[in-house]
C-alpha cells in the first residue's frame, strides 16, 4: 500500500491517519449499511471491559453550546461477546480495529490486554485511563503520572500489540503524565478524552444527566484540545493521536500542525456518520495537490 496517506505510529501502521473515536462509532458494524468502514484509518471501538457493563442511569446525554455532555458510563458488551460476536464481522469487513480497553486496576487492565493479545485482527490497544464517567478506574489513573505509568507498564508487559494510552484533559500536569506513560512503554498517546462538566435543568432544578456530571466533547473543546496536543508534542517523542471537536479537514489539519501524527473524530460522527470518510477523501486530495504526506505537516505550526 503506497497510498500517500499511509501513516506509521511507532509499531502501528494505518492506511490513513483519520480514525473514529471510542464511544462515538459503536463497534463500527452499525455503519456498514451506509459506508465502507474499511476505508477508515482505524476504528477505536466502544470501551471494552472484562465483564459487560450496563452503564449509568439515564438521562445519559444532553447538549451544550457546540458540544455535548455524556455520562454513558462505559456501557459495553464485555470482552467475550466483543471477541466472539463482533470481531469476526469486523475482520470480514476489513476494518482496522483499535481495542479501547477499560479496567478498574492495573492488573485488571493487564488481564484484559493479555486476552486481546490472542485475538486475531486487533491492530492496537487504546488504554483508557481518562474516562470521567466511572466510579473506579478511568480518570483516576489519568490525573497524575504515577498511576498512569503503573497502568501503562502493566499493559506493556501483558501485550505485544501496539499500546496507545489515552490521556485526560483533567490531568493535574498533562505534560508530566504524557512523559510518564512514554517512559513506561507506551507506543503512542491519544488525547483528549472528555472534560468533566455539569448542566442543570433550571425547571426541575436537577442535573440534566442522571449521575449529575458528564464528559464534555465536541467543537466547544477544540481550542483546548489543540493546545494540549501542542503542549504534549513539546515533551514526548512518541507519536500523538489528537482529537477533540474535529468536524472537517480544516480541523484535522489544525491537529496535525499542532503535533498530532493522526487524529480521531468523535462527536462529529453523530452529526454526520460519514464524516471520517469525507475527511479522509478531502485529506487525500489536499496531500495529492500539494504532493505531501500528512507526516510532513506534523508539528509544523510556526510559532512567534
Amino acid at each position: 500500500m503506497s497510498d500517500i496517506l499511509k501513516t506509521t505510529l511507532g509499531p502501528l501502521v494505518l492506511k490513513n491517519p483519520v480514525m473514529v473515536a471510542s464511544g462515538t462509532f459503536g463497534y463500527g458494524l452499525e455503519y456498514s449499511d451506509i459506508m465502507d468502514i474499511s476505508a477508515i484509518g482505524g476504528i477505536s471501538v466502544k470501551g471494552i471491559s472484562l465483564s459487560p457493563r450496563p452503564g449509568n442511569p439515564p438521562p445519559r446525554m444532553c447538549e451544550t453550546p457546540s458540544g455535548m455532555l455524556n455520562s454513558i458510563g462505559l456501557a459495553n458488551v464485555g470482552f467475550d461477546v466483543f471477541v466472539t460476536e463482533m470481531m469476526p464481522k469486523l475482520r470480514a469487513a476489513g476494518a482496522t480495529v483499535i481495542a479501547n480497553a477499560y479496567g478498574t486496576s492495573a492488573s485488571d487492565f493487564a488481564e484484559l490486554c493479555r486476552k486481546f493479545d490472542d485475538v486475531e485482527g486487533i491492530a492496537a490497544i487504546e488504554v483508557n485511563i481518562s474516562c470521567p464517567n466511572v466510579k473506579s478506574g478511568g480518570i483516576h489513573f489519568g490525573v497524575s503520572g504515577k498511576p498512569a505509568a503503573e497502568v501503562t507498564a502493566a499493559v506493556r508487559q501483558a501485550t505485544r500489540l501496539p499500546v496507545m494510552v489515552k490521556l485526560s484533559p483533567e490531568a493535574r500536569d498533562l505534560k508530566e503524565v504524557a512523559r510518564a506513560v512514554e517512559e513506561a512503554g507506551a507506543d503512542s498517546v491519544s488525547l483528549i478524552n472528555t472534560f468533566r462538566g455539569m448542566s442543570i435543568d433550571v425547571n426541575t432544578r436537577r442535573p440534566r444527566l442522571g449521575v449529575g456530571f458528564g464528559g464534555l466533547s465536541g467543537p466547544a473543546i477544540r481550542p483546548l484540545a489543540v493546545r494540549m496536543v501542542y503542549d504534549v508534542a513539546q515533551v514526548v517523542r512518541i507519536p500523538i493521536v489528537g482529537m477533540g471537536g474535529i468536524t472537517c479537514l480544516r480541523d484535522a489539519l489544525e491537529f496535525f500542525l499542532a503535533g498530532a501524527s493522526a487524529v480521531q473524530v468523535g462527536t462529529a460522527n453523530f452529526s454526520n456518520p460519514t464524516v471520517a470518510v469525507e475527511i479522509i477523501n478531502d485529506l487525500r486530495e489536499y496531500c495529492t495537490n500539494r504532493n505531501i504526506r500528512p507526516a510532513d505537516l506534523v508539528g509544523k505550526v510556526e510559532m512567534g
Partner: protein
C-alpha cells in the same frame, strides 16, 4: 403487511417546503433520491447546515416516506427552532429509517391515541392502515383547537375523535376519556405516541382492559442507531433498554409494567 425497514441511508438533500400547519408546528418536506423507506413508528435523524451549534441531529418520526419525505416539527428548542425557520432549497442531512416501527394489527380494528406532536407517526400509520382498509379510530388530544396539526389528513382516513383541555373543540378533557369507551370493544390494538405521562396512562388503561398496546417513546439521542448508548430508558426490572434500537415502539407493558 409492512415490517420494519433496516436498510438505513444517509442522505444529503434539500428542503422542498416548510409549512406552518399549526402555531409552533411545521411540516418539513424534503426530496429523497433514492426514496425514503420506512414504516410508521420508524424515525429519521435530521440536521441542517447551521454550523457548530447545536451539534447533534434531531430525531423525528416519519410522517411520509417515498420521493418526498416528511416530518412534523414542533418548535421546542434551538434545534427545532432552526428547522422550523428553514426555507425551500436549504441543505438538510437525513439518516434513516431508524428503529422499529409499529407492528400492524392482527385484529381487525386499530385505535390510535395521539397527544401533541405524538400525532406524527400515527398520521403515517392511519394513512397506511386506511390503504389496507383497516378501520381506524383516531383519538387526538390537545390543549386547544389551535394545537391540532394535520387534523385534516386524519379526517381523510380515520374516524377522528378530538379532546381538548379547554373544550374549544371536541370533548373537553383528556384523551383517556374516549379511550376507555372505545376499549369496550376489545377486538382492537392500541397505538400511542405523546407525552410520557399520557403514554403511561394509556398503557395502564389498555392493560386493565386486556388490550394490546404499542407505544412510541422518546429519549435524548445522539446517534439514533445503537452506537452511543445515550438513549437508555429503565425497564420495570431495573435493566436498560435503548429507544433507538429496541424501540422507539415498545409493547407498553414492557415499559410500564404489567407484562402478561
Amino acid at each position: 403487511m409492512t415490517t420494519t425497514d433496516n436498510s438505513k441511508k444517509y442522505l444529503k438533500t434539500r428542503i422542498q417546503r416548510v409549512e406552518t400547519v399549526a402555531p409552533g408546528y411545521s411540516l418539513l418536506s424534503f426530496e429523497c433520491t433514492p426514496p425514503l423507506t420506512g414504516i410508521p413508528g420508524q424515525f429519521v435523524m435530521i440536521r441542517g447546515a447551521w454550523g457548530a451549534s447545536p451539534v447533534l441531529p434531531r430525531a423525528f418520526s416519519i410522517v411520509q416516506a417515498g420521493n418526498i419525505g416528511q416530518v412534523l416539527v414542533r418548535d421546542v428548542g434551538p434545534g427545532t427552532s432552526l428547522l422550523c425557520n428553514m426555507h425551500s432549497g436549504d441543505e438538510l442531512a437525513v439518516l434513516g429509517p431508524l428503529g422499529n416501527g409499529f407492528v400492524e394489527p392482527k385484529s381487525t380494528k386499530a385505535v390510535l391515541v395521539a397527544g401533541g406532536v405524538g400525532v406524527a407517526p400515527l398520521v403515517f400509520l392511519a394513512e397506511k392502515l386506511a390503504e389496507r382498509d383497516v378501520p381506524v379510530t383516531f383519538l387526538y388530544g390537545a390543549r386547544t383547537e389551535n394545537d391540532l396539526p394535520l387534523k385534516e389528513r386524519i379526517e381523510n382516513c380515520a374516524n377522528l375523535i378530538i379532546t381538548t383541555e379547554d373544550g374549544s373543540i371536541g370533548t373537553k378533557g383528556r384523551v383517556t376519556i374516549p379511550l376507555k369507551e372505545t376499549l369496550q370493544d376489545q377486538n382492537c390494538v392500541v397505538y400511542s405516541c405523546g407525552p410520557n405521562l399520557m403514554l403511561e396512562a394509556v398503557g395502564k388503561i389498555c392493560a386493565a382492559a386486556g388490550v394490546e398496546c404499542q407505544v412510541a417513546l422518546e429519549s435524548p439521542m445522539a446517534c439514533g442507531m445503537g452506537t452511543c448508548k445515550g438513549c437508555a430508558v429503565v425497564r420495570p426490572d431495573g435493566s436498560f433498554t435503548y429507544v433507538c434500537t429496541d424501540g422507539p415502539v415498545f409493547v407498553a407493558a414492557t415499559i410500564y409494567g404489567g407484562e402478561k
